[in-house]
Symmetry: C2
Subunit: 256 residues, 2 copies
């Protein structure tokens, strides 16, 4: 446990899940600071912290200030906090640690997961990637991260961005494929849940083995007959057809 | 249980898993017929069936003949079997039932799952889509399917193809995204398994909620700054960059 006061700057998905995890591990979440009134109020109430709008908190030299806002809002927040005396960290995948170099003590605390406010999550299993501007801050962040998760990695800014891009492929793009699949099924009054076992098996297999080894389907087999049949059907949905054709080609190029 | 003799025509991934499931449900798998010697021999041995190369089996009027070969090989197999007297079915997602109309009794038995020979699978949870040329054959296939799985659906050929295309998006294309992600990580000496919690959470959330509701990431947020940063990094890997840009654009178009 860390005795320092912890402040959450932001009240979105990541701040919410992080706040809950910090609270349930008995950390001292002293306040939630956010421009958005309602979400901040709600988060503060949820984790028994104060909703603070007073810049005085930034004078807490011993405090840990976790900025968890959209990347585009980061600059504004840094400006507001610029005289902060504590340890200032952000939770972003693709923002360099140096963006916080105006603060004497700074670092990164990036939980590699997809968060939705309404869905509970087991924080213990979430990989946390930390980075810090010196050894002392690194030790603080390591202790903090290890109190929440079994999987703590020290990762520099470049590697973190690569992890983030990899996560975009494995999570965001994957989910987009699910979405296209669901679209097509709904258009035909088919229930998406029929694909559940397939989706779970594909995810499990990719982890246990390797996605490269388990690639199946018409494109991987070079089964042009089936591909043509699918494209012919999808010509009713030009958006889908274009994506189908593009990815099928990429799969085939990769094999050759 | 069905008293008829069941014959597997083919010895690939689907035939193997189906053979094992039939055997463990005490069906009478009388023989494995396949052009490929070694896999057929191995499958026959595994399920205690005979490896048969004699066309006489096709005279078994009461037999159920499950053709489980690549789509491109189907025509050849139909030719070999053309005088078959039994109930002839195939296991393909995208081949019309009518392709078997040369047989008096015919149908389809399509297990909606991705199979690898070396990985065990719980057949009970696999949706099986059946189709038959008459009521009597439908009853036989229904009984057979229900003995293996809790999820049996009667689906005509067009809907089955739509299911198959949906499965290509949700399984093959998804796995390709995993593959790109793994590639990028390996190129940077990062271990793909770090993405495990993210991949599993994404799959689970898509099913519990809906992929549309849970789409996150730079493209869904319209975070062009991050997208540009990622593209700049990926410019070292032109293949990956092209796919990243294409899918990011499609996600944004879908939102608008």
């Amino acid at each position: 446990m860390i005795k320092k006061n912890i402040y959450l700057i932001g009240a979105g998905n990541v701040a919410t899940h992080l706040g809950i995890a910090l609270k349930s591990n008995n950390h001292n979440v002293a306040g939630v600071f956010s421009k958005t009134y309602k979400p901040a109020k709600a988060l503060a109430a949820k984790i028994g912290a104060q909703h603070i709008n007073n810049k005085k908190i930034f004078e807490d030299k011993e405090g840990i200030f976790i900025i968890s806002v959209p990347d585009w809002a980061l600059e504004d927040v840094i400006n507001i906090m610029k005289n902060c005396k504590g340890l200032v960290i952000h939770t972003s995948g693709s923002v360099d640690m140096n963006s916080l170099s105006v603060f004497k003590n700074h670092g990164v605390f990036y939980p590699l997961q997809t968060f939705s406010k309404e869905k509970e999550i087991n924080f213990e299993e979430i990989p946390i990637c930390i980075e810090a501007n010196n050894e002392e801050n690194k030790m603080v962040l390591q202790k903090l991260a290890q109190s929440l998760s079994k999987h703590v990695h020290y990762v520099n800014s470049e590697k973190r961005m690569i992890l983030h891009i990899s996560a975009v492929f494995a999570c965001n793009f994957t989910n987009f494929m699910y979405q296209l699949s669901e679209d097509l099924m709904h258009k035909n009054n088919l229930n998406f849940s029929i694909l559940r076992p397939l989706i779970i098996e594909t995810a499990n297999k990719a982890i246990i083995k390797s996605p490269k080894e388990i690639q199946t389907g018409p494109a991987a087999r070079g089964d042009m007959n089936t591909i043509r049949k699918h494209e012919e059907y999808l010509s009713n949905f030009p958006g889908l057809e274009k994506i189908y054709t593009f990815i099928s080609q990429k799969i085939q190029q990769k094999k050759s």
